[in-house]
């Protein structure tokens, strides 16, 4: 390791170059701030939107009408609607059309068939809120836009820790993983926007245990922001409420509502009450509502459950294929073609995937700022607002703009700031290097974490949590931490990054243990065997949790959901 750690500085540091991160960087640069964006891989193809998306949540007054209220209701009733401070949701909807138009200007086809077109994820007779677009080039297009605004993109430079001092956030420690030997870099900034996406690889893949990269969302997104912010004392929210996605079995992939078909029992009866014939306008929204359907049917023997597209018109089947390309499901399409699986003739079994964190994590205010001044967050790792791609895009822009404005009134942390801290942290990480033939590797650490999460912070349906299970699991998590510290060694920067991802996931698991213990009720897939009812007194409240960086004391706060 070099004696001096390389430094970069800018007004605004953006951590993560997915949709939210790129949008934050663009907005901050447009405000006149200097911006660096540190990205784990390459912004052209990183994150859960790497190769596309096809549904953009938004409110377009000319299509939906002047009253936003029915659209707000639709969002809150949708699969992304569980954990929202409604003032955030309203702000998002108000600014969403502007972002849609910007994306269209920047070369992403937001109205590929001429007019704004809302399709899928919809209840018959209710307003449709998901704009159907062709996002196959969204990452290269946003990358090009960010560069044209002067954003300095640093690829293959994952942030591993946030740095704060008495005056607040002052930067981050990052690790250059281009070469075999990791090199640590300090990124100095007046304000920081976190945008590291969802958290995957915490639980075993539900369909293919052991194949830990077979995940619906990007397996390189591992809760870095939640873990890093937790370590410096930021509020996290709703971490204990599990989320599970669904899709084809056993090929894990988000995008279930791009399929246009009817969910059916093996005897052909539809699973849900919404449609008997699927069209591109509505599809079958059953599993957005009955989230556990596929698991329920397996465990009670009525299954398996299929998605049947055989009654879908040839035109809509072609539309579905087009939508899958825009969504980035080309590996799925290639596989279907190669194996001669024609969705128009073959029903495909669906399943519920393992729990992951999306829309659970950092608490933000109306401007995207977290509980720590100068630290912002946007995208899948926010815990009190969720809007998937549209949410990431719009709130990324809001957070980036505000981070730039706030940076305007702050002074730059001095060069060499937090010198001892960065030396200690980088030495800590480097101490994991030097794998011998008898050492454990990062994979063992990840698999061991899967076991503990699967058993002791299990998510429903049909799996419970309890005070005794949580207490035991927390102890085992600490035992695992000690074992990892003692036994895991890695060979190079790539493996060290994977290990750091596991360490971040362990911090996320720790937060879930704490907050699941504090939520003494059953809600959604957080099922407490010792509190088997849903407490109406908690319905309008959120549970915040944070850990003091000074004395490691964990504290909780219940607060009213903002309207």
């Amino acid at each position: 390791m070099k004696e001096d750690i390389r430094e970069y500085s800018a007004d605004v540091l953006v951590v993560g170059g997915g949709i939210a991160g790129l949008m934050a960087a663009i907005a901050a640069a447009e405000e006149g701030a200097s911006v660096i964006l540190a990205e784990k891989a390459n912004t052209k193809r990183s994150g859960s939107g790497a190769t596309g998306n096809d549904h953009f949540l938004c409110y377009i007054p000319e299509k939906h009408g002047a009253d936003m209220q029915p659209i707000l209701r639709e969002v809150l009733d949708s699969m992304v609607g569980l954990c929202h401070d409604k003032d955030n949701t309203r702000r998002f909807l108000q600014e969403s059309f502007e972002v849609v138009q910007l994306w269209n200007e920047w070369g992403i086809a937001m109205r590929p068939h001429g007019d704004w077109e809302f399709m899928g994820h919809a209840f018959p007779g209710r307003p449709r809120v998901w704009l159907k677009y062709d996002g196959h080039n969204q990452k290269p297009a946003l990358t090009a836009k960010a560069k044209s605004c002067g954003v300095e993109i640093l690829n293959h430079l994952p942030v591993v820790d946030l740095c704060s001092d008495e005056s607040g956030i002052c930067g981050a420690l990052a690790m250059d993983v281009r070469g075999d030997d990791p090199e640590f870099v300090f990124l100095r900034a007046k304000t920081v926007v976190l945008a590291t996406g969802s958290a995957n690889r915490m639980y075993s893949p539900a369909g293919t245990p052991g194949w830990m990269f077979n995940t619906a969302f990007c397996p390189s997104c591992t809760g870095a922001a939640q873990a890093q912010a937790w370590r410096i004392g930021a509020n996290l929210v709703n971490m204990e409420l599990p989320n599970r996605h669904a899709g084809p079995k056993y090929f894990s992939r988000a995008g279930k509502s791009t399929w246009i078909g009817v969910y059916r029992y093996p005897d052909g009866r539809p699973l849900g009450p919404f449609v008997t014939e699927a069209t591109k306008e509505y599809g079958d929204i059953t599993c957005d509502v009955w989230n556990s359907a596929f698991t329920d049917l397996m465990l009670d023997g009525r299954g398996p459950a299929y998605l049947d597209c055989s009654g879908t018109s040839p035109e809509d089947l072609e539309y579905m294929r087009w939508g899958m390309r825009g969504e980035g499901l080309t590996a799925l399409l290639d596989y279907l073609d190669e194996k001669k699986i024609d969705p128009g003739k073959r029903a495909v079994e669906f399943m519920q995937y393992e729990p992951h964190l999306i829309g659970r994590g950092l608490e933000i205010d109306i401007d995207g700022q977290t509980s720590l001044p100068g630290l912002f967050a946007a995208g899948d790792m926010v815990g009190n607002f969720r809007g998937d791609i549209g949410g990431a895009a719009v709130y990324g822009r809001i957070a980036g703009r505000q981070a730039a404005r706030l940076a305007g009134g702050r002074s730059m942390p001095t060069s060499g700031a937090a010198a001892e801290w960065r030396k200690n942290r980088s030495e800590y990480y480097l101490s994991y290097l030097g794998q011998g033939s008898h050492d454990a590797g990062w994979r063992e650490a990840n698999l061991a974490l899967h076991q503990i999460c699967n058993d002791y912070i299990a998510a429903g349906p049909h799996r419970v949590r309890s005070a005794t299970l949580l207490k035991a699991g927390m102890e085992y998590l600490e035992q695992l931490r000690a074992n990892i510290r003692q036994e895991v060694r890695v060979a190079n920067s790539h493996e060290l990054l994977r290990l750091i991802e596991v360490l971040d996931l362990m911090d996320c698991a720790e937060v879930i243990f704490h907050s699941a213990g504090e939520r003494k009720e059953t809600r959604g897939m957080h099922i407490r065997s010792d509190f088997s009812f849903t407490n109406p007194l908690l319905s309008d409240k959120f549970l915040l949790v944070c850990k003091s960086p000074q004395n490691s004391e964990v504290s909780f706060k219940w607060r009213s959901i903002r309207n």
Partner: protein
Amino acid sequence: MPPVIDTEKCIGCGLCAEICPMMVFRHKPEESDTPQVLYGDECWHCNACVLDCSQGAIRLRLPLPYMILNTDAANLKG
């Protein structure tokens, strides 16, 4: 494991290694023109390498456990 590079078609530009979200490739031109698939079991089957390779030199081979379970839709009846 997932990405399979056709060495006849590969021109050694290294784009796949540059853009892979999971960084499964290693490209060291001084060692080999064609990038190595070093961490194939970390592939997320996002298809970015397949889509972006200007030579069409990459395909994914999905592991057997990833099979998509399917049946004749006409069988779905009581």
